[in-house]
């Protein structure tokens, strides 16, 4: 049993920082790690409260080995920020649990620095920067020795600020010149699937998008650089689903395009994608090429873009839109046609098609008629269509008649195919919230949407959004605003009235926009300055990264040497100081040291009265002190005199 140790008040701020920074990481580590960390914290709290003994080091040591093994087993890797964050969290909680002695403080501070920077690496979010700066200050504050300005806490705080301010130039220098390492380097695949990331999966079935649309989670932010792109064009494609099994649509086999993406100079839009843990990218219709440095991507034959690896960090890319697409090749067209012929066709469905389309074969007219069919047959748009996992097309069209966008997209695509027109379902996002302050769009899961594409008479894939026929307001007002309205409002108010209501912005909304904007700018700023930018910037001054690194290395070595030299010089004691210190030391026992406001003669006079040092010795001592401190240095001080001085001091 170890003796009980209560946490010293000096530790309060440090422990609080460690606990908060650990708790911030909870969402980024596996559940078992989060849970054990919290348990260890509670254990420590109980120790404090009930004065239990602290657990022995053997136990905590054993536990840390167990958890290390568990971490390695979970991640199957020992590199990567998730792995390190997980183990760091456990280690910190165990260390706090067994905390006993003053000497452990520096180790705790070290852990704190790692924890704080891990969270920053995970999120890069401005809000975390704001939380972490005070934590960093506390850690540096704790780094100061206890004796340092012990009676002047304000002085200590000022010192900490000084330290921070002094690091700014070096940090800025490193930010600009230190070679950016690519995302790959810090990204190691972990348990992205586990970590609470929502989004589309590789298939879609009725009810899935509506579920997704309940969430307010940010998916990406987008900035439009091309003024020709209007808000109605904002269909952010994610996946193209080609294989259907009833109302369930799946991604078919995608052919990876061999050709390199078209190079382009002027991008039409920029997307900053939140970490999704998946390979999806979102891009506007008719996007022919994208560009990025954050990840490697592939393009499939249908102009669909994928990241090669799962994206677990915020990433940025720009896209190029080119209207006037070429029709698909005859070979592809034949493949599609033959696929359609192979599928079985339900006579009841064909009957319905005949009902609204007659014997028409033109795809565009079919599209128009289909929209009209939805409009005139009392279909109903709802976010909560109920559990309809195995809904059949015929049941949907004739019985339930209510659904979310995926129902309409799915059914529309099926009807197209039944009419022998190639079609496919597209899932992604539509619209978003426009940030007036920053002039960018924030797209959340609320904006999740599904629509279709069909091959028109020119054999070009054409977008058709069945939702526009059933709930045009959803598209016009945007998901965020539309879902905030209740059914009565949608029924009773006219379109103009609704729009007017939305235009009246309130204060909270303004603040939200403002904060969103700052956060966005910060992210862009961090992500924008990538290796390519850095290289371009350096090339402007005819420098390569290697030569710059070398220069930086040499410069930093020189700076360190210079700094050391200055410190040494500043701390170097003058001859006079050495003499005074020596005499002070000799007189310390008798408490006859020099008073701070005393000159040499005053000191000498005091010693004459209060000490028993012989007059002759005093004369010699002070003669020497005065000549070192106050006499003209051109009169050299002999080594002999120095010897005598220290001899007398020794005698004292």
């Amino acid at each position: 049993m170890k003796a009980h140790f209560r946490i010293h008040p000096d530790y309060t701020s440090l422990i609080a920082t460690l606990v908060v920074s650990s708790l911030l990481l909870i969402s980024d580590v596996p559940n078992w790690a989060a849970l054990s960390t919290v348990l260890f914290f509670i254990w420590r709290l109980l120790i404090e409260y009930f004065r239990w003994p602290t657990p022995s080091r053997w136990l905590t040591g054993f536990l840390s080995v167990i958890f290390l093994v568990a971490t390695l087993y979970t991640f199957k890797s020992w590199i990567g920020k998730e792995v390190s964050a997980c183990f760091l969290m456990i280690l910190t909680s165990l260390k706090i649990l067994e905390l006993q002695e003053e000497s452990e403080k520096s180790f705790l501070i070290l852990l704190g620095f790692f924890l704080v920077s891990s969270k920053f690496l995970f999120s890069l979010d401005l809000i975390y920067v704001a939380i972490e700066i005070p934590m960093l200050l506390i850690l540096i504050y704790n780094l100061l020795p206890t004796q340092f300005m012990s009676n002047n806490p304000w002085g200590r705080i000022q010192y900490v600020f000084k330290v921070i301010v002094l690091t700014i130039p070096l940090t800025a220098f490193l930010y600009v010149f230190f070679p950016r390492f690519t995302q790959k380097f810090i990204e190691v695949q972990g348990l992205q699937d586990k970590i609470g990331i929502s989004g589309f999966s590789d298939s879609i079935q009725p009810g899935q998008v509506s579920q997704l649309a309940q969430s307010n989670e940010l998916v990406f932010r987008a900035e439009l650089m091309n003024e020709k792109i209007s808000s109605e064009d904002l269909y952010w494609k994610g996946q193209i689903l080609t294989e259907s099994k009833g109302m369930l649509w799946k991604r078919g086999l995608l052919e990876i395009s061999e050709e390199d993406p078209l190079p382009f100079a002027m991008a039409d839009y920029k997307i900053i994608l939140e970490p999704t843990g998946r390979r999806w990218l979102f891009f506007l219709d008719d996007t022919v090429s994208i560009k990025t440095e954050n990840f490697k991507f592939q393009k499939t034959s249908g102009n669909v873009f994928f990241s090669v690896d799962n994206l677990s960090a915020r990433s940025q890319y720009v896209g190029k839109v080119l209207k006037n697409q070429k029709p698909i090749s005859d070979r592809d067209y034949n493949v599609l046609k033959s696929k359609l012929q192979a599928t079985q066709k339900d006579p009841a469905i064909l009957e319905i098609i005949k009902g609204f389309n007659g014997d028409n074969h033109d795809p565009d007219i079919f599209a128009k008629n289909l929209l009209h069919y939805y409009q005139s047959n009392h279909f109903y748009y709802t976010l909560r269509p109920g559990d309809q996992g195995d809904l059949q097309l015929i049941d949907f069209l004739l019985k339930s008649k209510k659904g979310f966008c995926e129902h309409y997209a799915s059914s529309a695509a099926l009807l197209f195919r039944a009419a022998n027109i190639p079609s496919r379902v597209v899932v992604g996002y539509q619209g978003g919230v426009f940030n007036r302050n920053g002039r960018f769009w924030s797209v959340t899961q609320k904006d999740a949407h599904a629509w279709i594409e069909y091959l028109n008479s020119q054999k070009i894939w054409t977008r058709l959004d069945p939702t526009s026929a059933i709930a045009p307001l959803r598209l016009e007002l945007g998901a965020q605003a539309y879902f905030n309205l209740n059914e009565n409002e949608i029924q009773s108010l006219s379109k103009e009235e609704l729009k007017k209501r939305l235009e009246n912005s309130n204060f909270i909304e303004d603040v939200e926009f403002w904060f969103e904007n700052i956060n966005y700018k910060w992210n862009t700023w961090l992500l924008d300055y990538d290796l390519e930018k850095q290289k371009a910037w350096l090339e402007k001054y005819n420098m390569s990264l290697t030569s710059l690194s070398l220069i930086a290395l040499v410069l930093s070595l020189l700076a360190t040497a210079l700094f050391q030299f200055l410190v040494d010089r500043k701390n170097k004691k003058t001859d006079y100081e050495i003499l005074i210190e020596a005499l002070n030391k000799a007189l310390k026992k008798r408490e006859l040291e020099r008073l701070p406001t005393e000159g040499p003669l005053e000191w000498k006079n005091r010693l004459q009265i209060q000490s028993s040092i012989p007059q002759r010795s005093l004369d010699l001592l002070f003669e020497f002190i005065v000549s070192v401190g106050y006499k003209n240095k051109s009169i050299a001080i002999s080594a002999e005199q120095r010897k005598i001085f220290f001899k007398i001091i020794n005698e004292i």
Binding site: E577, I580, T597, G599, Y630, K631, N632
Partner: protein, 311 residues
Amino acid sequence: MTEIVCLMKTNWEKVLEATDQIIFDKKNEIKLCLVAILSRGHLLIEDVPGVGKTTLVQTLAKLLGMETSRIQFTSDLLPSDIIGNTIYDPEKKEFKFFQGPLFANLVLADELNRANPRTQSALLQAMEEGQVSSDRKTMSLPDPFFLIATQNPRHQTGTFPLPESQLDRFLLSLNLNYASPEAEMKIFKGMDPRKKMAGLFSLMSVEEIREQQDQVDNVFTSDLLIQFISKILIESRKKSDLYQALSTRTGLALTRAAKAWAFLDGRDHCLPEDVKSVAPAVLAHRLGGVDGVLDGYKKANDLLRNVEVPT
């Protein structure tokens, strides 16, 4: 150098002792007067009448072989009354300048703060430059030129307080104060000081004084000492709510006075103790301002108590 200083010390010591024979119990003040003379500064004495100001001045003048004059300031005194007048000489048929009482080695300006500001400021140029201007002509005052001004304590009626700019031109200020009871009894018992004075003869010539003023300039001030002086100034500026912030000119005055003090002590180098000895007198009128020299002395001592001697 050391030998010369030792030799000279005796001369100054003699002056000091002789003065002490006439004005009892004021050795420190007399020494400060000598400091002012040696460092080419001027002296301000603030006191009530009848404590021996005039006697002190006359004694010093006599001992140092200086030509002396005395101006009694009144509210109707004009600048030309102290500088001099240009008067037409009918015999030679030309204008001739007749020197005023300012043309002397040692001038006693009695009750300076009774004069109007215009006349006070006429003294300014004389004190700063050692020369005066009249009718577009500039005339040098004798060298050495040493001014001792006395002023009545504030609150006395009929006074014009000296502005700060003028106060700053005085190197030192003194407060003679009443003599101690023992000293006073000695005065009462003894001979009339004026008669005693008649028996004095000069111990030094003006040339010697000039030469020794140059020697004071050569007294060595180490970096440590300069640091100490700078610390005093900084302390006053840091606590500007308590003290009048001290000017660079003050620092210069402090250095000069400390050098002279060290010289009088027979040293060729300056010590912090020298600075401490002269500092109250150098700082008093600057820190005291309108509150007077006595108040300034308290403040100066207060300030010095908080300044550490650097190592």
